[in-house]
Symmetry: C2
Subunit: 251 residues, 2 copies
Amino acid sequence: MEAKYAKQHSVRYYECDTQARMTLQRLIQIAIDFSGEQVTKMNKSIGRDIMGEEQLAWIIIQYEFEITRLPRAEETITIETEVGEYTKLFAKRFFTIYDENENVLLTIETLFSTFNVEKRKLGRIPSELFKNIDGLEQVKRIKRQPAPERVAEVVGAKDYYVRYFDIDSNQHVNNSHYIEWSLDVLGSKFLQHHDITYANIKFEKEVHYGDTVLSEYSLIEEDEVIKTAHRITNGEVVNSELNYHFVKREN
Amino acid sequence: MEAKYAKQHSVRYYECDTQARMTLQRLIQIAIDFSGEQVTKMNKSIGRDIMGEEQLAWIIIQYEFEITRLPRAEETITIETEVGEYTKLFAKRFFTIYDENENVLLTIETLFSTFNVEKRKLGRIPSELFKNIDGLEQVKRIKRQPAPERVAEVVGAKDYYVRYFDIDSNQHVNNSHYIEWSLDVLGSKFLQHHDITYANIKFEKEVHYGDTVLSEYSLIEEDEVIKTAHRITNGEVVNSELNYHFVKREN
């Protein structure tokens, strides 16, 4: 089977923010769900659910977005996902989102690893899962994405309480919520008047139902680009570090 | 054209709670969006966008859910919507959600009215919009749904801050968030171990970005049914009153 897999999605108004831009939160929910469909096909092609047999779950370590333009409400987009290289411990997956004229709107590079649910520790990626993917081989090293820049001088902070409906049917806080907690603290005025061109999101430790996390950020301006660095913490524990680049929105 | 209109939806894991039950919030987002598709067809059938011409927007006054079972993750459901009777001021719309074997999972009865965006007051429903719907006529009176029971002795309360991404591209707090604020306060343990069989949700005054609302509830047990009454308030203003019925979940 091919490494690439694509489907269309019609962007709904409730997936969009005040400026009718599709939110990163909704984009990542749909993208990750779609990659699960491809994994189901991969399972079928080898005739086994090898992740299930070995008690392994995928965990997401990092997302890196390069954004030309976010999809808009009522637009039909194509979501293409491609399995990338993998080592014993890590696997890459790429997403490309196209508009109706096949222009690239954004790309997402993601790094996954596996967790052994029984042993409660990091797992080993079963290479058999990938064996029917054309042209794909296990490699020794994977090109790691840059770590997000650390928060410098904190200029804004807010507490967020983890709610019941933040936990999805995978029994975890859906990682799209880290994006919401980090962006919301920037405030409506800033978010309305700026477009995101880049995001680098790294997950460190999971948060749980009932936790209250602190979302903090720092900000620097470099020419036309505003760069923000964020961290989500729960007491001494760093749950996630995130970077965004923004440009002033043309209205 | 027919008063009924239907489409299928494949329920995704991120639309579901910890028990893999589709959330009322996601259900209502999809249902209301889908009813918008029917209105677009109605516009086409009369060759005008009469709501736009008259500066009218639909506003939702009340939702009443009767639930046999909530849709589950991975299930394909059919959402059927039907335009109901209407007066000069109010219009009814019904939704029925079916499983793959055409069993009714739940129904939603909704009451709409219109708001004149220019004059900032309630509007008059343009009967021309409905003229090509088979068998539908303007009536003098509409059967009103019961008002939700008021909160009695408060047994739980929590504050919720209205976030940037709670506002959708219609520039309003998406009304699905009132459902989240009212249910979350019941806590994970209760929500996991009970199924909702009925909901009555009435909207009074809109909340705005940056507001902090108070979500409070009272609870009574009647035989096998736990009935909760909720209110969402912002200072002296009541934003919404809600009732739910729950039964113990069979596990």
